[in-house]
Amino acid sequence: MDERSDEQLLRAFALGERAALGALAGRHESAMLGLARGLLGGSDALACEAVQESWVRVIRSARGFRGEAAVGTWLYRIVVNRCKDVRAREARAERRRGSDAQRDARHDEGETPGGDAGLRSAMDRLGDGQREVLVLCFGRGLTHREAAAVLGIPEGTVKSRSHGAMQALRRGLGVDGGAV
């Protein structure tokens, strides 16, 4: 078990120590996959794709990491952005295919048994910002402050997005009532 900090591992990798990246991945890859999975509607295949692309980005940018945020925060931020790319790419591909059936089949292919189709569908209908806040806060258990750091937005915005997202989800799932 490597006892160096995340920053030290990243710096070591930037200096050419390949194994340091492995150690860093050992600490964060599972969390990154979880985040990506939540943002990509529970698809394991798309989550793997997004996380692999995130690692590519990490590899290329490791030298430029300035330590302004924690490595974990930085990794999450990269994953969030890669997931946006993947979603956009998938949306384009779906438009080309013009078929929702294929999308459902693909989702089913990499989906963990027990996934809530209604929730997934309601999450899909949310905007990127709201989905990200929900997954970070409720999916990955980050505080509002930590989610704000990942997304680069004010903490108040995280709260309002979270509130709006939950209301939208409740509407989408057919739950009546007022504030969450």
């Binding site: 969390a31 996380v51 692309e53 590899i59 929730l119």
Partner: protein, 384 residues
């Protein structure tokens, strides 16, 4: 199900969806391979991004596009020059051989043509006594090689000069008689037109003289001495390229005529329909030759004989004076400025359109390059 329990369900659902249960994936290793094979260039860009500030990169990109546009100015204009062969560069522009079909084709030849155009514009707009050096300085700035040793002299532009002089005199008729006497009929000069109205000091008249180009300055000096000069304007029009163009096309048509005549001589091998077609073609070629010949002769006459238009006014003739009221002055000013503004707007739009369309071959790749560079730049570092 209560609202709170439903909320808990939603949070649990999101939590379940955001949990990885797929075991160890070692995606970082695949990413290492991917980055190693695909991204050296982008990786280098990523490193650059940390060392070079974004404004510097943006400035570089803008400079690159600007360079492309300027380059487009040099080369982009040249697209429409037919059969042009560059021979030599000089300070004024390009000396080139061409069989361009129109003057505009030749003018569209990049900076050389612009330089030529400016020169031509200067020649055309030269006024007063500044006209003389224009011809002296013309040299061989744009002497088309096609014309060398042919119909035109080798080192002088073919320029048609015209002058307009307004004089005032006590005796208009006597002055017009003296003006008519200025032409040297033996040298081919002549009086193109005379008109006189009124008598004595109330008379006014107009005379148009055609004098040899090399005598223009002398004639103008004599004209100025005959009365009080009210205004004077001299302009020049460069007909070199029209003459060269016409000469080239004329020679070409004559070659065609010769070939057709040679074909006619073998008429025993032609059927009647072929013979008729040949005659028709020959007739058309000869028609074009005559038309071009006339056009060329007309231009040569314009070049060889400058036009001097002199208007003479008697001293007792008062120019019509009309006092405008304040409002009339105001509205005439508004009209003048409006007209001027519209004219300027039109010219600006025309210039912009010409710039945008004329350099489209450079704009489009430039913008594509800019977009690609920007995308690479954005991809080169972690999006934060």
């Amino acid at each position: 199900m209560s609202e709170h329990s439903k909320r808990d369900d939603i949070e649990e659902g999101i939590g379940a969806m955001s949990t990885w249960n797929g075991g160890e994936t070692r995606l970082w290793e695949a990413a290492l391979n991917q980055a190693g094979t695909r991204g050296r260039f982008i990786g280098a860009l990523g490193g650059l991004k940390e060392r070079v500030p974004a404004p510097a990169v943006a400035a570089l990109l803008v400079a690159a596009v600007g360079f492309g546009v300027v380059l487009g100015g040099v080369v982009g204009y040249g697209g429409s020059v037919p059969d042009g062969v560059l021979l030599e560069l000089d300070n004024d522009g390009l000396v080139y051989s061409t069989q361009a079909s129109t003057l505009d084709d030749q003018v569209s030849f990049g900076f050389a043509a612009e330089a030529f155009d400016m020169q031509r514009g200067r020649d055309r707009s030269s006024a007063g006594r500044q006209w003389a050096p224009a011809r002296a300085a013309s040299g061989v700035a744009l002497m088309p090689a096609d014309a060398m040793g042919q119909d035109l002299s080798d080192d002088v532009r073919q320029i048609a000069y015209s002058a307009t002089v307004a004089l005032e005199s006590d005796d208009v008729r006597a002055l017009i008689d003296r003006l008519r006497a200025l032409v040297d009929t033996e040298a081919g000069e002549f009086v193109e037109g005379v008109s006189i109205a009124g008598e004595g000091g109330d008379a006014n008249g107009r005379v148009t003289l055609r004098v040899r180009g090399e005598r223009l300055e002398d004639v103008l000096t004599q004209v100025r001495a005959l009365g009080a000069v009210l205004s004077e304007e001299v302009s020049a029009q460069d007909l070199t390229n029209q003459l060269v163009d016409t000469g080239a096309r004329l020679r070409n048509e004559r070659r065609v005529e010769t070939e057709l005549l040679e074909l006619m001589e073998t008429h025993d091998r032609l059927d009647l329909a072929g013979l008729v077609r040949l005659r028709k073609e020959l007739g058309e070629v000869r028609g074009r030759i005559e038309s071009m010949d006339a056009s060329r002769m007309n231009m040569e006459r314009l070049v060889s004989l400058a036009s001097v238009r002199v208007s003479v006014r008697g001293r007792d003739v008062q120019p019509e004076m009309r006092v405008e009221s304040g409002w009339e002055r105001f509205w005439s000013g508004v009209r003048a400025y409006w007209s001027d503004g519209v004219g300027r707007l039109g010219r600006s739009m025309g210039g912009l359109l010409s710039f945008a369309v004329g350099r489209v071959l450079w704009w489009v790749p430039g913008l594509v390059l800019l977009a690609v560079a920007w995308r690479l730049w954005r991809r080169s570092g972690a999006r934060a």
